[in-house]
């Protein structure tokens, strides 16, 4: 048992962790932020993608103690008040969501991509989200959604 401090979705939090807990476990079980999904649990599917100090990681591959004094953004941390993040809105508008299990990770992957590269090509989008598996959509509408989000963000800036 160990107590760590971290910032999660902009709020300073303290939490008791077990040595063998993963970042994914404290996000879901500790903070009850269940938007982050566990898919494979071995870093292959991207369903548990979160931003750790601004970098995209699989929360199943990070030990909880590694998140000490870090800043974590989960899907719940996107958007402001009632307003969705432009990426979330674009996913809805293009129909890029089917069963929804990959969606939180996919959105955060797109977020990480657009933070680095605000005007990606289609191929760069494909590469950017290639670590996130989706079984329903065939990815086409997801790629469209990220393109649309990039366009909208550029227009509002």
């Amino acid at each position: 048992m160990k107590t760590i401090n971290l910032k999660i979705n902009g709020r300073k939090r303290q939490i008791e962790i077990e040595e063998n807990e993963r970042l994914l476990d404290i996000i879901r079980e500790g903070f009850h932020l269940t938007g982050t999904k566990e898919g494979c649990g071995e870093g292959e599917c991207g369903a548990c993608s979160v931003l750790l100090n601004g970098k995209l990681v699989n929360a199943c591959m990070i030990m909880a103690f590694q998140a000490e004094d870090s800043e974590v953004i989960t899907i719940e941390g996107l958007g402001e008040n009632e307003k969705l993040d432009p990426i979330q809105q674009a996913f809805i508008d293009t129909g890029a969501v089917q069963c929804g299990f990959c969606t939180p990770g996919m959105v955060l992957s797109a977020k990480a991509l657009l933070m680095k590269n605000p005007t990606p090509t289609k191929q760069e989008i494909r590469r950017g989200i290639s670590g996130n598996l989706c079984r329903c959509t065939g990815y086409e509408k997801i790629v469209e959604a990220v393109e649309l989000a990039a366009k909208r963000i550029a227009e509002t800036d």
Binding site: C45, G95, R127, S130, L133, C134, G138, E140, I142
Partner: protein, 327 residues
């Protein structure tokens, strides 16, 4: 060397449980005391779009907006059984049950409106924005809420049951009507095979799907993209590798499914040929969209390099071996 080839695949598929197995969907439609319309049915939304597309059916019948339809689904405590979300059956089966329930409720509303407004049987009525209106004389109108206020409890509530008509196939003769309805589709692909590595790229793809009637074209496109990608994985990547009953490829490191980098931009053509027994002609397409893709890919490989592959997935190793065998 890179070699290009083209191939097609065609298919037909019987939706529903089939073979005479009871394939039943139930729906309950009602108007509450505030005049709001609610329909409940146990169909599950699992990402295929049941919640959206099924709600469009009563909206069309009752002249209200889809977003105004209160659709109670999934919850087994409050809904009647509408069977499984399987066999691509919900659009057709539950769609039919919801259409029947909505139409029955509409007839009840019409008859109540005639009674309250003192109208003859001949006067034509239209439904718009939660009101029943005499066509050509809009001064004569009554809202669902006004009708509800004069009705007794349970008057404006109706349950309908739809059962698909299929028969058990005669095993001796192969005769019978094992499925209804059937849906039809075709796929065409162009592949580029690298004869030195055995890898292949799908350079062009077209997928054509008969849907009866496209209730929601955007959702259908999503299903077509998804079905193509799944079939692409089925044809080229996905192998459980079962050895003596043990699945050897038990994770995504070994069991590969397509990623966004493998995804192909598929030209999608929706064919509308309404099915007479279906709700507004609409049939299910969840599974059918996947079926013609793998045959099209295998035919394209044959066109490109002259080898007939008879076992999937066509991994680079398998394709390379087959190419070497024919010289």
């Amino acid at each position: 060397m890179k070699k290009t080839g083209k191939g097609i695949g065609i298919m037909f598929y019987g939706t529903g449980y089939g073979n005479g197995y009871p394939d039943i969907s139930r729906a309950k439609a009602k108007i509450d005391t505030d005049g709001r319309f609610t329909i409940s049915s146990g169909a599950c939304e699992v990402g295929q779009g049941a919640k959206t597309s099924l709600a469009q059916i009563p909206a069309e019948i009752l002249g209200i907006l889809t977003k105004e339809v209160i659709f109670d689904h999934e919850d087994t405590k409050t809904t009647l059984d509408a069977g499984t979300c399987a066999a691509s059956r919900q659009t057709y089966n539950t769609g039919n049950a919801m259409k029947m329930a909505s139409e029955s409720l509409k007839r009840i509303l019409e008859s109540k409106a005639r009674e309250i407004l003192n109208l003859s049987e001949e006067e034509p009525l239209v439904f718009d924005n939660h009101e029943v209106i005499v066509e050509g004389d809009p001064s004569k109108r009554i809202s669902f809420k006004q009708i509800a206020n004069t009705a007794d409890v349970g008057d404006l509530e109706v349950v309908e049951i739809f059962q698909a008509v299929t028969t058990k196939m005669n095993e001796e003769t192969g005769e019978g009507n094992p499925y209804w309805p059937y849906t039809f589709g075709a796929c065409g692909v162009e592949v580029v095979v690298d004869t030195e590595t055995g890898t292949l790229d799908i350079s062009k793809a077209i997928l054509v799907q008969d849907v009866g009637r496209a209730v929601n074209p955007k959702l259908i496109e999503g299903q077509m993209d998804g079905g193509f990608a799944m079939a692409q994985g089925y044809a080229l990547l996905e192998d459980l590798n079962i050895v003596k009953g043990e699945i050897k490829h038990h994770n995504f490191t070994k069991y590969l499914i397509p990623t966004a980098l493998d995804a192909v931009e598929v030209k999608k053509i929706i064919v509308e040929d309404p099915e007479s027994s279906a709700p507004f002609g609409a049939k299910g397409i969840g599974e059918p969209v996947m079926i013609p893709v793998a045959p099209a890919i295998l035919n394209a490989i044959y066109d490109a390099v002259g080898v007939r592959i008879t076992e999937i997935p066509v991994t680079p190793e398998k394709l390379l071996k087959a190419i070497k065998e024919v010289g």
